[in-house]
């Protein structure tokens, strides 16, 4: 059980790292600020590469979230074990998955979203990401756990 928990944590951390990095890579900032000039980070300025990495990381994150959710359900673990900061992060991740899913649909051929809904989706997605980063940083510093 402990090993599974550690594996989940590693998968979550690695996925979060790549999904955030590739997410920021959707904006033309890494080349402007020389980050993609660092050897090994050239891919950060290649928009199609970061797009694919973001999608792959999203697939892993969705699978992991659903796995943990159903693991909770099958084990009959009480929801009251989840900490306040844990609940907050769950809501943020759920929001990211929902807004991200709409953005994936928007990118499919023959799909037309209104201009305003695209702007709202973009802003919601990036705002939720920033909030998740700050909350994660806070829980990391204060050593707050997902569950008691």
């Amino acid at each position: 059980m402990k090993t599974t928990g550690k594996t989940r944590k590693y998968i979550y951390t690695i996925t979060l790292f790549f999904i955030v990095l590739s997410g920021f890579g959707q904006m033309p900032i890494f080349k402007r600020y020389y980050i993609s000039d660092i050897p090994g980070l050239g891919w950060l300025a290649q928009f199609y590469v970061t797009h694919i990495i973001h999608y792959v990381a999203a697939i892993v994150l969705i699978a992991l979230v659903i796995y943990i959710l159903f693991d909770f359900i099958f084990n009959g673990s009480g929801l009251n074990k989840i900490t306040g900061s844990g609940y907050f992060k769950i809501v943020l991740i759920a929001g990211l998955i929902v807004s991200g899913s709409f953005m994936v649909i928007k990118n499919l051929p023959d799909i037309y979203f209104s201009h305003n809904s695209i702007i709202v989706l973009d802003l919601v997605h990036v705002s939720l990401c920033m909030m998740l980063l700050f909350v994660s940083l806070y829980t990391r510093i204060r050593k707050k756990r997902w569950v008691n």
Binding site: T4, M27, P28, Y48, V56, F70, D71, F74, D122
Partner: protein, 321 residues
């Protein structure tokens, strides 16, 4: 210069005159049919064999879109770091041999040998208006939009000029003008760099039931616009008739601009001048295809999660027994 002004003035007059008599003309009938058509994308067909390179379309484009052109504030704010390029076309508005923020359509020149005879071809070039446009889909701010009639356009009120649309465009179409746009009100030193510009297929004229200016003024009827299925059919019929070739139907997964040429496009591509703001005529794979395929894989992700959780539960219950 004098001849150009008079030509433009003449053209302006021509467009106005054309507009005033359009109600009873075939253009008006065609335009009316465009608005009443079912929601099938509109596609333009360009018969290259008809183009004489007169550049009437280029001047008409400039004339009707002049009010959309950038009027940058100078001096430009200092941008950091120093590698951020200033792209200023405001003093080069007369450049018409490439795409610029002030020139959304230009004529490309090619020479080719057909049946042992050397021929010159001229090709109007502008945004292809892709079926699934990477510029629209990948803009991080939602500054671009695609309309149901197939055109894609940039909202100059929202664009920050990051030029990502240019980088992901297989044809290097959107062009940047520094010193204009919303970035000036945000953090001009650190983020943004102006506004991107490209052909919007005269969306405002289409809304009024008019055809794009480049189509309306062409003296040789090089371009035709209509519902996709109809235009694709016409393009194939035309290609059969001239024993020619088609470009744009399958490029980047399909576009709403179809060229028909008597010369293979591979040959034309070798002949045309290419570079920044000068699009090629090479084959283009579907740039959004990988993303689309991964989107399908995304549907399996929740199932994989459930299966893994169930597998773990099943194994642990077995162990408990």
């Amino acid at each position: 210069m004098t001849s150009k002004i008079s030509r433009r003035a003449f053209l302006k007059g021509s467009i106005t005159a054309a507009g005033s008599v359009a109600a009873g003309t075939s253009i008006a009938r065609a335009a009316k049919s465009l608005t009443s058509e079912k929601k099938e994308p509109l596609v333009t067909l360009l018969d290259i064999s008809k183009c004489i390179g007169c550049e009437e379309c280029v001047y008409a484009c400039q004339e009707v879109n002049e009010n959309k052109y950038p009027e940058p504030e100078k001096p430009f704010p200092k941008m950091y770091p120093s590698r951020v390029p200033i792209q200023d076309w405001s003093d080069k508005r007369d450049v018409i041999d490439r795409l610029t923020p002030y020139n959304w359509l230009f004529i490309q020149h090619a020479s080719a040998t057909v049946n042992g005879e050397e021929i010159e071809l001229t090709i109007p070039r502008r945004c292809m208006h892709c079926d699934n446009p990477p510029c629209v889909k990948l803009c991080p701010w939602g500054a671009l939009k695609q309309e149901e009639n197939g055109l894609s356009r940039i909202d100059s009120d929202i664009c920050l000029g990051g030029s990502k649309c240019n980088k992901v465009c297989p044809w290097d179409v959107p062009q940047r003008q520094t010193g204009v746009g919303i970035y000036l009100d945000l953090l001009p030193a650190l983020a943004g760099n102006g506004v991107m510009y490209k052909c919007d297929r005269c969306y405002n004229r289409l809304e009024k039931g008019e055809v794009p200016a480049c189509i309306e003024v062409c003296p040789e009827d090089v371009q035709t616009i209509g519902p996709k299925s109809e235009i694709i059919e016409k393009a194939h019929a035309l290609a059969r008739e001239m024993n020619g070739y088609i470009y744009g139907e399958h490029e980047n997964g399909g576009t709403n601009t179809i060229y028909v040429s008597p010369v293979p496009f591979e040959q034309l591509n070798l002949s045309i001048e290419q570079g920044k703001g000068k699009p090629h005529l090479a084959k283009v794979k579907n740039m959004m295809a990988d993303g689309t395929n991964l989107a399908k894989a995304m549907l399996i992700a929740p199932l994989a999660g459930v299966a893994a959780a169930f597998g773990k539960f099943y194994l642990s219950s077995k162990e408990d027994k």
